[in-house]
């Protein structure tokens, strides 16, 4: 299949990105480059200098809301993508509303409590919608441990499922980027199988 055909197919779909940090910003950019039609991005935070070691923002965007900065960056890459942003802290009540109509949702949070919350919410309140989550991506090296696991048709996990972030094991660009792009790759695969 030629890229023009892939792009034409992907342009018909809508993907939700829950969080615009290391995972969300990189995953959204990868999906935008492939031509996914609509991206719904939700985050409440602003760009900080410490984010620049892994997140898809620029030094001159420090202080901007991540949603606005990411929308700007996506439009600079591919102005054909329709980007909808929500400056909101996501919870079990607003997730079904914010991501309604999405064909796939990408879990791109930092905290394990939030990861658990969105998996439970999507699985219980948005039945049938595939969720692509990430677990275990802190540190560097150990490329061979990063994997992908399909739990079933509605839940996919990317990461090593064991490296937790800590002071001595920070999240940095290469490994976060690997997992974020793996999430984008799984998302594209799901969308390519949709009619």
């Amino acid at each position: 299949m030629r890229f023009a055909e892939i792009k034409a197919h992907l342009s018909r779909f809508r993907v939700g990105i829950a969080g615009a940090g290391g995972l969300g910003s990189n995953c959204a950019v990868a999906l935008a480059r492939c031509g996914v039609g609509t991206l719904v991005i939700a985050d409440f935070d602003s760009v900080e200098e410490t984010n620049l070691n892994r997140q898809y923002y620029f030094n001159d965007q420090i202080g901007m809301l991540k949603t606005i900065a990411l929308k700007e960056n996506i439009y600079r890459i591919n102005p054909e993508v329709f980007v909808i942003i929500h400056q909101k802290r996501l919870d079990s009540h607003n997730i079904p509303e914010i991501f309604s109509g999405c064909h796939v949702i990408v879990e791109a949070f930092d905290g394990s409590d939030m990861k658990e919350m969105i998996i439970e919410t999507v699985q219980l309140k948005m039945r049938g919608i595939p969720l692509v989550a990430a677990s275990g991506l802190a540190g560097w090296g150990k490329s061979e441990t990063i994997k992908y696991r399909k739990i079933d048709d509605t839940l996919y996990i990317c990461g090593d499922e064991s490296s937790e972030v800590s002071e001595g094991l920070p999240t940095i660009a290469p490994r976060v980027g690997m997992v974020a792009n793996m999430q984008a790759n799984v998302t594209v695969e799901i969308l390519m199988n949709l009619r």
Binding site: I119, L137, I157, S163, V176
Partner: protein, 67 residues
């Protein structure tokens, strides 16, 4: 009973186990986790009232912070 735990066959010397009992037996201690039995997500408040039977497909997933 024999179950499929994360795609691997596991045998337990009991005919029925609650989710709580299985977590204890397997020494699963992580706080943030997801459990699905036969593709259905089990909420945390139902871990003591949901039972695993012979032939069930159980999937466990630990959630690690970082993103």
């Amino acid at each position: 009973m024999k179950i499929l735990l994360n795609d691997r066959e596991e045998e337990f010397f009991k005919e029925v186990l609650s989710v709580d009992e299985m977590l204890l037996l397997k020494k699963f201690s992580y706080k943030m986790s997801i459990i699905k039995i036969n593709d259905v997500l089990i909420s945390k408040d139902q871990y003591n009232s949901t039972f695993i039977h012979d032939g069930d497909k159980v999937q466990m997933l630990y959630l690690m912070s970082g993103g």
